[in-house]
Symmetry: C2
């Protein structure tokens, strides 16, 4: 576990992946994993061979959101076999598949985390795939740094919620991308307004428009707004992607419009 | 910046602090900083000499939530002078006070982060204080580990939101505390239900009761529920603590009831 992936092996693995995107945010709980899972599931459902790497080692949410948190990893000393779903079109890798108990915590410091992320990227049998989507924990520290330096993504998709206290942290992610020379594919404003299911009046619980005005301010593409939707949360808790099982409503439309902008 | 605080100096600093609490969560965006800021502000307003350490180096939210994000740190080679508010009753320390530009990102790996957190704890002139509240970034990695090993808190206050995908990650924080021998003071369920301001009907956007049932499951004290309140968000964006400037409503009552349980 203590050595990063061999550079030649890493280069071979990466050469088989057509497009790589990392999902970033300076702020936690804004919906990075939700965006990652739904983007990857939508790609798989549309016939694209897709990999999904959960680089959050302390709070891996991706497996539970896809209902595969009890799966175990296959492989041997030389490679890891990712967990498959959507008829093998989606291959998922997460630290969760290596934990003995569901609730075990991973109490690791940075250097070990770098090695593990590098191994997850390079030693996983992704095969020839069209897309690799990489979900990242919040912040600008070890995990996103290791992902960017190791996987060399084509772009970063930045997720924020509308309130100032979120965009304040998320601007640090934009500075982070600039300093590392990573292109920003676009910015998504999640949890943008809530329409009461009883009276149909909208309340801007976390504000509204903060992500869009931040995108303008930093000169980045604004990919769109996703409203707050309780069915999104309950489907996620049941292990279903919204793009797969969600009802055909404004949230699904918003999500699909954003995905089509990313995958043009 | 590269060496942790001298152990003797650290011991002297810690000996002047009566009670220390760390605010933890395996999940981001659940309200750790909100709880930290409001708990610290409530203590200061009630006449307790309080310190508030923001140990989130990549997404420091505490200064902005108190409207002091443009302050700069005083001190010299041997000590740091924290930023004061509430008539000097609250002393705040955050990496934000060391950044040249508001939006600068801190792209540091684990070992440097450990040294900086250790220095923030040991070299800050907290003085004789009644409480030190330590806000932590999400997860079970370098920052919370450094905080716990360096400050040796009296207890952890764990914040979650109600949905399974949150409690799933937060259970890892409980495992983390158990493994490190840190007492859990209690669990707070934040963003617990939203009452529409137009029709007054409640919607459980992120579910409801998940924090309480998790507390029962792990045998921890349940400190209470805080509902979703848009005025909480907008006050935070303006740099005001809710316990200071919030209207006297159910959210304020819930927050104050939780604080009184922590500070008995």
């Amino acid at each position: 576990m203590h050595e990063p992936c061999d550079p030649q092996r890493l280069a071979e693995t990466l050469s088989q992946i057509k497009k790589k995107y990392v999902i970033l945010s300076g702020k936690g709980g804004v919906g990075k994993s939700t965006v990652s899972v739904n983007l990857a599931a939508a790609l798989a459902l549309s016939g694209k061979k897709t990999g999904l790497l959960d680089s959050d080692l302390h709070g891996p949410s991706v497996p539970k959101m896809l209902g595969i948190e009890n799966e175990q990893l296959g492989g041997d000393d030389t490679h890891m076999i990712p967990v498959e779903c959507y008829n093998g079109m989606l291959k998922v890798m997460s630290i969760q598949f290596l934990l003995r108990n569901l609730n075990d915590s991973v109490i690791w410091r940075g250097p070990l985390k770098h090695s593990v992320i590098s191994q997850f990227i390079g030693y996983t049998l992704w095969g020839d795939i069209d897309y690799l989507i990489i979900d990242s924990p919040p912040g600008t520290g070890d995990e996103p740094l290791s992902v960017i330096q190791t996987a060399k993504p084509d772009g970063a998709i930045i997720v924020t919620t509308p309130q100032d206290i979120a965009t304040f942290d998320v601007k640090k992610s934009i500075d982070f991308c600039d300093k590392l020379g990573l292109k920003i594919t676009g910015i998504i404003e999640n949890m943008s307004g809530f329409v009461c299911p009883h009276c149909h009046t909208e309340t801007a619980i976390f504000g509204k428009g903060g992500g869009e005005s931040m995108a303008e301010e930093v000169g980045a593409v604004f990919l769109g707004r996703i409203p707050i939707d309780p069915s999104f949360v309950s489907l996620s808790d049941k292990g279903h992607a919204f793009v797969d099982k969600g009802e055909k409503n404004a949230t699904l439309q918003a999500m699909n419009a954003i995905i089509s902008k990313i995958t043009v």
